[in-house]
Symmetry: C2
Subunit: 386 residues, 2 copies
Amino acid sequence: MYAERIANLKSSAIRDILKHMSKPGMIAFAGGSPAVELFPVAEITTAFERVMTKYGAASLQYSITEGLVPLREKLVQRLQTKGIGTDNVIITQGSQQALDLIAKLFIDKDSLVFTENPSYLGALQAFQMFQARITAIPSDEQGIIVDELRKQLKAQRPKFLYVMPNFQNPTGISYPLERRKALVAAAQEHDLLIIEDDPYGELIFEGERMPSLFSLAGGKNVLYLSTFSKTVAPGFRIAYAAGDAEVLKKLIILKQGTDLQTNTFGQYLVNEYLESGHYQSRIDVIADTYRTRRDAMLSAMERQFPKTLSWNRPRGGMFLWVRLPEGWDAKEILLRCVENNVAFVPGQEFFPDRSGRNTLRMNFSSPSPENIEEGVRRMGEVLRKI
Amino acid sequence: MYAERIANLKSSAIRDILKHMSKPGMIAFAGGSPAVELFPVAEITTAFERVMTKYGAASLQYSITEGLVPLREKLVQRLQTKGIGTDNVIITQGSQQALDLIAKLFIDKDSLVFTENPSYLGALQAFQMFQARITAIPSDEQGIIVDELRKQLKAQRPKFLYVMPNFQNPTGISYPLERRKALVAAAQEHDLLIIEDDPYGELIFEGERMPSLFSLAGGKNVLYLSTFSKTVAPGFRIAYAAGDAEVLKKLIILKQGTDLQTNTFGQYLVNEYLESGHYQSRIDVIADTYRTRRDAMLSAMERQFPKTLSWNRPRGGMFLWVRLPEGWDAKEILLRCVENNVAFVPGQEFFPDRSGRNTLRMNFSSPSPENIEEGVRRMGEVLRKI
């Protein structure tokens, strides 16, 4: 009755865990939501009024599949890559849709895809839905290990490599400049398409902003994805993909058959919000807030967690990554933590090679510093008993 | 490089024709847009204010994949089918996304799908994207011919039958009650899943509202799709699918990997608009307006078109259907009409069996009565020269 792709269909661990979130008193480090109290409600209200005055009913009508022209013009500006125009940008219904369209465009049953190890669960889901085989390239604290990638590329040819070079979901790690350059060089040498997913790149706590792989490659053979979900608000589902115009043309036709277009109204609102000039100052507020929360989490972990655990200190984004001692199973610990009213995401599902049973992801963007303190204390209680 | 499904990828005729629409002075009977001047701008503004007061930033946050609970509760009420609850309804990003998700759930390469002849182009595209084989069941002025369907069902077993029983796109025809009952009986007998697409069912000009196949079948083995794109505004992309809870569970997981969720903000706005109580009176205004435009079109055609052409008189919706004399090619006539600043959609692409070269679709919802008069006059000029 169902298609073959459905045989292994299962809800994600994240989704199943989110069900626990509504339990009263639960402190959630498991989600991936931006802080709701930082959404620019007043500015969105102003943007709404302006959209209605300037465009009226047209902002509620059908519009072209590739997305609102003035919004794409602004994105071209932001991409800072020579030779890029509005034909190189499409608006998508969140970055998840870009991943779905990319899978549709490139992946046949048993097509090979390379990813980081670990990698973003939503991307793995999108690729697996089209029955891709996924090979995870060994990765370290600076991202994909380029020599390992070269080795793999000699053995087999993937449809593309999927990476998240800025404050990765799930680990929070970022690629230094040298690693970026080495990766782009290896990709160009092997004519390898890179899917660069960059939802968190603007949420920087310290250090400089790194150039995108897309700009380093001069826009060639890289599809760059980003979104306003973390910098404005997720509820509009306004994201974008940038890349080669011929590839984008195909994505546009696929999008036409997938959902016709991204919601017109959200595009107008985000476009108007960008015109208001509040965008960058709001991002500064978001980054300041998340830095404080990251620091609160790191400080609490230092005090509460056993010394046998280790973790990183991301320079931006929304997540940090914890390594438990070998042999521990984060899923079992999660069950005990949920009983103690605190939750996180076990790391194993992020690993295409199913390693990482002793890892877990912590979100610090959503909970308050007080809840971070209390939640880490609850986790520490559980962890110290093991 | 690309997936196999891309080999036959092409932009739709409708999309290509829409490019002509921006030509100054063009009168378009080719689109499928609702009348922009009837969108409830003032009521949406009120709904916006209420959403912001009642929910604030939460209306801009991520939300659950299946859609806003109060909106789904309202849809359960509207479906008027016993035993249906919120687990039987999901919100989709326009009905086009429901078609995409249904294709994802059921269709493997070479899977068989039954449709009407002609059928909705967006559905054909969605199914073809997943490499379905499509068999068009012979259809008459009352829809699918049930005896022909039975004959086909004896020969081969499709994944589902896709139909649009109310004011079909492209023909404008509707199924009378007896045909509906016969179709549901045949489907139940053969355990055939029906996809019932109903975007236009509320836009009734005369006669009674017919029960849905979904309600006639007691919600069993029918997936029912509808949308607010034609009754509120398309720019929100808020539509829904109703059906068996087990099937919907699978669609929800697929939607999670496809775009996570439908835009939260549009769901809140539509939900609030429905609560305002203006919905039905606005539909009455829309139906009155479209009836006037249909009548203007019929009257102009009667005066302007050669007597060798024939056409129908739809009891609702947004389209009517014209049949040219045998041997005429609507595509060639379109080219001449575009030179004369008027456009329609040639019918052939709507026919999975590639018949219907001498048919065309006319939209009467979007142009004003004055433009309808003038546009039909321009078409008549071209047609009388042939």
